[in-house]
């Protein structure tokens, strides 16, 4: 219990020490957006008759008529009071947009990562147990294929086969069938919200909707996870303690799972953390292909139209998520290997 308390305190300290980095990210993105060519006011004033007057109105609305340092101060003040500005694109507050879209992205990414881990770890272990065998080559081939095919290609392929040809999957538009009613919003994660509402049909509908995009995302990240598992399993299977364990006649699964895998899992956790953060922010294509209302496609649309507030909000959010995930990875380290502590 005391050890747990200490971990929490250390984690809190760690989080505080990453605040300056977050602040840096905030200022940097702010300046970067203003340096980029492209005037959002001109873009958004693109009605058939929008002239200079309309452009000025929008500029004022976005606060772009003030000098940059003043804009920065105002922005920092707003962020400090929890306001990330308003998106021109959706017309909503950025905090509201992100709050609605982040659970969608998280749900998708978590599911994809879970699928990836559940398939990559056994595959990696299998490959490591019989290096050079047909299984090992099979795993290598599968991984190469997964990495070679870009996510939007595998996504479109999955849609073509499971929706268009076989009609097994529901139409690939969003998180839930458009004709279905949504559960009351508690967590924003539909799978959880449907369960809490006791609506199992709804849960099943949401699950069916989720499975294809999660699969196409998972396919892409199975490779690094499986390769890392294989490499570190090979090292730990070849080490003295495994030889000792074998020599004393422990059952093979105990040797593999308890002794070898537990020691081999550390680098896999690290990679999983990195993969998670990357998936969350970078899988624009999957979100686009499946019309998934997530944060990544939102940020891309905003970037294309030079909509400053959402891009800044998105980068800040991603930085925060990255900090939290890293922290989580460090805590998991401690659980996997008691010799490691965070500090």
């Amino acid at each position: 219990m005391a050890a747990f308390g200490a971990t929490v305190i250390r984690a809190g300290r760690r989080f505080l020490s990453s605040l300056p980095a977050l602040f840096g990210v905030l200022v940097f993105t702010f300046l970067l957006m203003r340096v980029l060519p492209g005037d959002p006011a001109v873009f958004f004033a693109s009605g058939p008759n929008a002239g200079n007057e309309e452009i000025e109105v929008i500029r004022k609305q976005m606060g772009l008529n003030k000098p940059v340092p003043e804009q920065l101060m105002l922005y920092l003040y707003d962020v400090g009071s929890g306001n990330l500005g308003r998106s021109m694109m959706t017309g909503q507050l950025v905090t509201k947009d992100l709050r609605e879209r982040l659970p969608a992205s998280l749900e998708l990414t978590f599911t994809a990562l879970l699928i990836a881990l559940l398939s990559a770890v056994p595959l990696g272990v299998l490959a490591a147990l019989r290096p050079g065998s047909i299984i090992d080559h099979g795993v290598r081939f599968f991984c190469a294929l997964g990495v070679c095919v870009p996510t939007f290609v595998s996504g479109l392929l999955l849609i073509y086969v499971f929706y268009y040809l076989l009609g097994l999957a529901p139409d690939p538009t969003g998180r839930v069938d458009i004709f279905a009613s949504l559960p009351p919003r508690r967590t924003g994660f539909l799978l959880i919200d449907f369960l809490l509402a006791g609506d199992f049909d709804g849960w099943w509908a949401a699950f069916r909707q989720l499975i294809l995009p999660a699969l196409s995302m998972a396919l892409f990240v199975v490779a690094p996870l499986a390769r890392i598992t294989r490499a570190s399993m090979l090292v730990s299977l070849g080490s003295d303690f495994v030889r000792t364990a074998r020599s004393v006649g422990l059952p093979w699964w105990r040797v593999v799972v308890t002794y070898a895998l537990r020691n081999a899992i550390l680098p896999v956790i690290t990679i999983a953390g990195i993969v998670f953060s990357t998936m969350l922010g970078a899988n624009v294509l999957v979100e686009k292909v499946f019309s998934w209302p997530g944060v990544a496609s939102y940020a891309l649309d905003a970037l294309l139209s030079s909509d400053y507030a959402p891009v800044q909000g998105f980068v800040l959010l991603m930085a925060t998520v990255f900090v939290i995930v890293n922290l989580l990875v460090d805590i998991l380290y401690g659980i996997a290997d008691p010799r490691v502590t965070i500090g």
Binding site: L36, P37, G38, D39, P40, V42, F43, F44, A45, S46, G47, P48, N49, A50, G51, N52, E53, E54, I55, V57, I58, Q61, M88, M89, T90, G91, Q92, D97, E100, L156, I159, Y160, Y163, Y164, G167, D171, P172, T173, G174, I178, F179, F200, D201, K288, V289, F290, S291, P293, S297, Y298, D301, L303, L304, S305, S306
Partner: protein
């Protein structure tokens, strides 16, 4: 144990029965629901808000009424909006005084807002005042119809409103049928107005207070809008409410997915598919494909007439004869549209006073070389050719062909693909020498096109042409009451356009509406969106 067991069984049975019932209810309403998918999204419920998208326009047409609306006519067997026929929407009838300075509108007695209160002339005045006074998009639009001040709108009695004009303006009445001059329930709007925001812009952006055919059920910007029919509405033709009980407008960014959805019958209608998908869907013959050339829009290659070498008319002519029109038309649009090249003008005179008309240009490299020599640049020059990312699917193959063809007469092209915001900024600052763009006019009359796209130092004058004669004729034509003289002015304008070649019209792309074979009534509208009120299912 057995009690809980049977209770559990009961729950399971009940939930199965419930889900079956729900399923049958769903099946019933599906045919009365219209599901429209689009690559864009709806970002505001008030079309007047700066930055509002075309999809937002389409939604506002269903949720709000205007005083008048355009009729429809058949063009080559397809229904299109008719600029010449203006019918009442909230107005039961209207009169234009003989001198053209007064328009009187009599409101329908039975017209009610969605909250049940009657539509009065006060509401109309407040709404029109808002369009010309508040910082909204409609202001610039109504300016093109000589409506600029709240003093021009007068309440005569609770059901009559009068609009006065400083000059007889052909475009005044059509302007009231455009997207912006929506009639708002002024009592509701005023209740949500604040001192900073007297016209309730912030509230109306996320709420509606209209009398239109549909009520908003859910509005998720960037995702979907679901609308339910307003059964009280009777402004449809003839005097009926809209057909569909529910309309779902859903954003599906991936064009291939949109094509799959409509082919599988999960979506009912879509208007923004890729040309290649439209072609294959049409070939399969399962769906209805209605292709209407967007006769109020033009795609062109533009040159900045103020920047060398394009300030030289012979360079512009050389380019006009060096573009591989046919190949571009096939590569970019799969031939889906109406070409604006390859015409023959007898004795070099424009064939009509309309805009745009096919130009007497075609690929002729010898002629292009001669013009280049006349310009004093027989060896050619280097420049850039820009287009925006949003148009990449058509502009990219086009740009490659332009580059290849111009290289043959010594003009070296560097292709620039710019993010949309960057492209509009550079156009506004007049920095791009050579690029492609598309324009659209809601009220497509010759003088309107020339005034907006060929005069003044403003953004829409893409070619930055500064020709006093052209500007003068276009201004004069605006208030020309005599149709024959107007046509004559149009011919003159077209002649100047061809001799100067400030930019090269290429084609009018088709609007390809792909819909389930059961959907009927589709009409091509000036705003290039689907008017959901037009549609029904047989």
């Amino acid at each position: 144990m057995s009690v809980t067991g049977s209770r559990r069984l009961l729950t399971v049975v009940a939930s199965i029965a419930f889900s079956l019932a729900a399923g049958s209810v769903q099946a019933q309403t599906r045919s009365e629901t219209l599901r429209y998918v689009t690559g864009a999204s709806v970002n505001t419920l008030d079309p007047n808000i700066p930055g509002s998208t075309r999809e937002a326009f389409a939604v506002s047409l269903s949720t709000y009424d205007r005083l008048v609306s355009f009729g429809r006519k058949q063009l080559n067997g397809k229904w299109v909006f008719d600029l010449g026929k203006i019918t009442g929407e909230l107005a039961e009838s209207y009169e234009v005084s003989p001198d053209g300075l007064k328009m009187t509108f009599r409101l329908r007695k039975d017209a009610k807002f969605q909250d049940g209160t009657p539509v009065t002339a006060e509401d109309v005045k407040w709404s029109l005042d808002r369009v010309v006074t508040a910082p909204v998009l409609g202001k610039a639009q109504l300016l093109t119809g000589s409506m600029t001040s709240a003093d021009q709108f007068k309440v005569i009695d609770p059901l009559t409103i009068e609009v006065t004009l400083p000059k007889p303006d052909k475009l005044a009445l059509p302007n009231l049928a455009t997207v912006y001059p929506i009639i708002i329930n002024s009592k509701v709007a005023k209740a949500h107005a604040t001192a900073d925001d007297p016209w309730a812009l912030a509230w109306l952006k996320e709420n509606t207070a209209g009398s239109g055919a549909y009520k908003i059920e859910t509005f998720k910007p960037g995702e979907q809008v679901i609308m339910a029919r307003n059964a009280e509405w009777n402004r449809g033709t003839p005097d009926k409410s809209a057909f569909f009980k529910r309309v779902i407008v859903q954003s599906v960014p991936e064009p291939a997915t949109r094509a799959n959805l409509v082919e599988r019958g999960d979506a009912d209608i879509v208007v923004d598919l890729q040309a290649s998908d439209v072609q294959s869907l049409e070939a399969k013959g399962k769906l209805k494909v209605i292709s209407t050339p967007q006769y109020n829009s033009v795609t062109f290659v533009s040159m900045n007439n103020q920047i060398p070498p394009f300030d030289n008319v012979n360079v512009r002519r050389a380019i006009a004869f060096a573009l591989p029109y046919d190949d571009m038309f096939k590569a970019a649009l799969f031939g889906r549209g109406s070409p604006l090249f390859g015409a023959t003008w007898a004795d070099g005179k424009p064939t009509s006073g309309a805009y745009p008309i096919p130009q007497p240009v075609k690929l002729d490299l010898e002629k292009a070389k001669e013009y280049l020599k006349a310009a004093g640049m027989p060896d050619g020059f280097s420049t850039t050719f820009s287009f925006n990312v949003g148009q990449a699917s058509t502009a990219e193959p086009m740009a490659a062909l332009v580059k290849e063809s111009l290289a043959k007469i010594g003009i070296k092209i560097d292709i620039q693909k710019l993010p949309d915001a960057q492209m509009s900024t550079q156009i506004n600052e007049k920095k791009l020498p050579f690029f492609t763009e598309g324009i659209v006019a809601w009220l497509p009359s010759t003088d309107y096109f020339y005034r907006n796209f060929y005069t003044g130092n403003q953004r829409w004058n893409y070619s930055s042409i500064n020709n006093p004669e052209l500007a003068e004729i276009a201004q004069k034509a605006r208030f020309e009451p005599d149709a024959a003289k107007y046509e004559e002015d149009g011919v003159k304008l077209n002649a100047i356009h061809f001799s100067e070649i400030p930019q090269i019209p290429l084609w009018q792309p088709s609007q390809d509406a792909v819909m389930a074979s059961s959907v009927e009534g589709y009409t091509y509208q000036f705003h290039r969106q689907v008017d959901y009120r037009d549609l029904n299912r047989k």
